[in-house]
Each structure stands twice: as structure tokens, then as C-alpha cells.
Amino acid sequence: MKTKSQIQLGETIAIMLVFAVLVGLGFAFYVRISKISLQKELLELEEQRAIQKVQSIINLPELICSSERVISENCVDLYKIKAASEKKIFKKLYYQGVFGSSSINVTQLTPAEEEWEIYSNPKGVSASAFYLPVVIHDPIENTNNFGLIKILIYTK
């Protein structure tokens, strides 16, 4: 036979248990939401890094057009691209720090379609593609061709 005080103790323990379960559920929910939010932030950060890479490519002195020390915006030199592709200048360790796990291809669409791979380091599972239209300047013929820089950025 239980006494009144034992029943009251049981009630208190039950209330504490329910309270603990509620707090536990709330905490689990908070952790889950925080995790999702953190993953989103991480993705955003990775995308910002990817954009930085895209921006750095079109401003590389190794690729951009220049004439008498004047730099043309949104323009890459045809012969610099050919040299970068043939001599694989971006294979050096320094560029791996700049471009990381990505591959960069330049496609010329006019007058004739041509494609050059200038960097390739495909380490990662998924890849997001960025396309950037640029002028490909031929300094010998003095023509501007329509080109596309395709950057595949790999993420783990």
C-alpha cells in the first residue's frame, strides 16, 4: 500500500520525466535545424569560393589581353590560351592553390569552334559548372572571337 507522500513523489518524478523528454525533443529539433542551416552556410561559402575562382581566372595576367600595358576587360589572348594549354603552365603547384579541385576549358565559338583545356584537377564527387562569355582576342589577325570559359568546380 502506497502512502500519500509516495504518490506525490511518483507524480513529481513523472512530471520531471515528461519535462526532460520535452526539453530533449526541443534540443534534438534545434540541433537538426542548426545542422541544416550550417550546411546551407557551408554551401554558400563554397559557392563564394567558386565565384572567387571564376573572377581570378578572367583577371590572370597569364591569360588576359593587353596592349601597351593597357588591359582589356573581359578579354583573353588566343595565343596565351594556346600556350597555357600546350605547355600546361597551370599544372604547377602554385596554380593548384589558386584553382583547387576544378577543371577549366576555353571554347571559341566564332569563327570556328575550338576548345582548349587549360587546367584539370578533378578531385571530388560533385561538380558545379560556371560559364563565362569572354572575348578571345587574336593579336595577329586583330580579331575578337566569341568564347566561353567553362569552369567545373569539384566539391567533396
Binding site: E47, Q48, N74, C75, V135, N144, N145
Partner: protein
Amino acid sequence: MKKSQMEMMGIAIIVVLLAFGLLFVIRFVLKEDRPETKESFIESKLASSVMDTLLKTTATECRGFSLGELIKDCRESIGGGPPVWTGDYVRDNSIEQAGGIACYGGAPDSCDVSLSKINDILNSTLGGQLRVDYEFFILSETKGEPCRKVNYPPNIIFTAGPKCPGTKKHVCQPWPTSIDTIQLGLDICSKA
């Protein structure tokens, strides 16, 4: 502590917990969705760099003139009345060209060469590799808001690509000619 005081404490704790829960829900439910950085960057950067690159591109079939120069010549050669070309490249033959660049040596054809080349480039890049919907258009000079299409009197000289039904990234480039300052517009449709 009396029993009634204990109950009051309990209610206060429950109210505090509920308030925390409500704040938490409001914080996550009403949190404004930021536009995806990548999508936003791609669309805004894409529109401006496509326009910039397009106008600088050389038409090798037309004695080294750039597409920008050919568009200018096209406007100057067709005079005041704007004919309408579409993305399918249908030309209004009722309008005679009054001079201008002849790429192939015969009649002036700066309109034919520039507009078909723009159509081809946009088709293969935006429509092809990038698979985004777009609308490129050339308008004659209008007062007020730049790159605004008006029906009466019509100011559309050329259009290419499907229209954007929803949101879009827009770039408008004024292009001065001896007749008027035409407006070149490019809308990149946002992916749903």
C-alpha cells in the same frame, strides 16, 4: 513554499518554454530566403558579359567589322522606320536599305550579317551550352525608361529568343548611331 506558489512557478516555466519555442519557430519559418549566390551571380554576370562580348566580336565574314559596328551601320542604313526582325530571322523586304556596309560586295547587308550572327551565337551559347531562356532585343530610341518596348509607335527593331515570363536579369546598353541612340537589351530568365 506553498502548493499554490509551486503551481504558479510551474505555469511560469511553461510560459517561458512556450515563448522560447515560438521565438525559435518564428526565427526559422519567417527567415527570408536569400537568393542562391551562384544563380544570382551567374545571371547578373552572364547578361552583362554576353552583351559586352557580343558587341566586341568580329564578324570575320564582313571585313573585320565588329558586331557593334555592324548594328550601328544597320540602324543607319535602314533609316527612321524600324523594320521587325524576329529570332527566326525573317526580314521585312519592303524596307529598302539606303547605303551602308556591304559585307559580300553587293547590296548593303550589315543587318543580315549582324543579326543572323547574333542569333547564331545566342542560340549556341545561352540556348545551347548554358540552357537558359533569354530574350535579346534592339529598340529604337524611346523617351523615359530605357529598354522599354512600346507598341505605338512600335520601337522594336529586332528580337531573338523566347520571352521571360517570370523574373529575369536584365542588361540594357545604349548604342549611339547617327539617327538615334538605339537600345540593346538582354534578359536572362531566372531558372524556376
